[in-house]
Assembly symmetry: C2
Homo-oligomer: 107 residues x 2
């Protein structure tokens, strides 16, 4: 039985770029924790055949889905269906941490 | 852009049985919040072709995967790959809340 921690003991940051901490993965999905220092981003991109969900764990970032962008904080989540542009910008002075689901994973 | 709350404002309990609060769903996955009063369970079951992930948000319950059972609390998560028996028992005196991913959803 695989058990992992997904609280702040799992968070990992780096000055160079957004860090992705893998919690679980299979051929059906991945579930990661994305850790963004101030100024770091996941540039808007699309996946033709995969859905993505962002659930904010810490901090407030700007989340884009389609042509809309909203500031989301802890306890908020958003969904980018397959084919929709999506991304994150940590345009805040604090760290941002996001539980991120992708299903299926990129091929 | 769909935005939902997944904090305690989304939790919903009922005396009859475990409550499932849907956050997002598509033909690729569902992401729910399971809310268990003391004594409530999700009986061990399997899905031949779907993976399930349980992430504990609140309380401490007994989580089974395969033939193993462990008590898990907030900040812990476990993964039941397709074909493996899995379930939850809230054998504690307090409410248990679990972020639950299934991919793909049952047909």
């Amino acid at each position: 039985m695989q058990v992992v921690r997904w609280d702040d003991s799992a968070y990992r940051f780096a000055a160079e770029k957004l860090q992705k901490v893998e919690l679980f993965a299979s051929e059906r999905f991945f579930l990661d924790i994305y850790c963004l220092e101030p100024g770091q981003t996941q540039k808007p991109h699309t996946h033709a055949d995969s859905d993505k969900v962002y659930l904010v764990l810490q901090g407030r970032g700007s989340f884009s889905v389609g042509n809309e962008t909203r500031k989301l904080g802890p306890g908020e989540a958003t969904f980018a269906p397959a084919g929709q542009l999506h991304g994150i910008a940590n345009d805040s002075p604090d760290r941002v941490v996001v539980l991120t689901l992708m299903t299926p994973p990129p091929v």
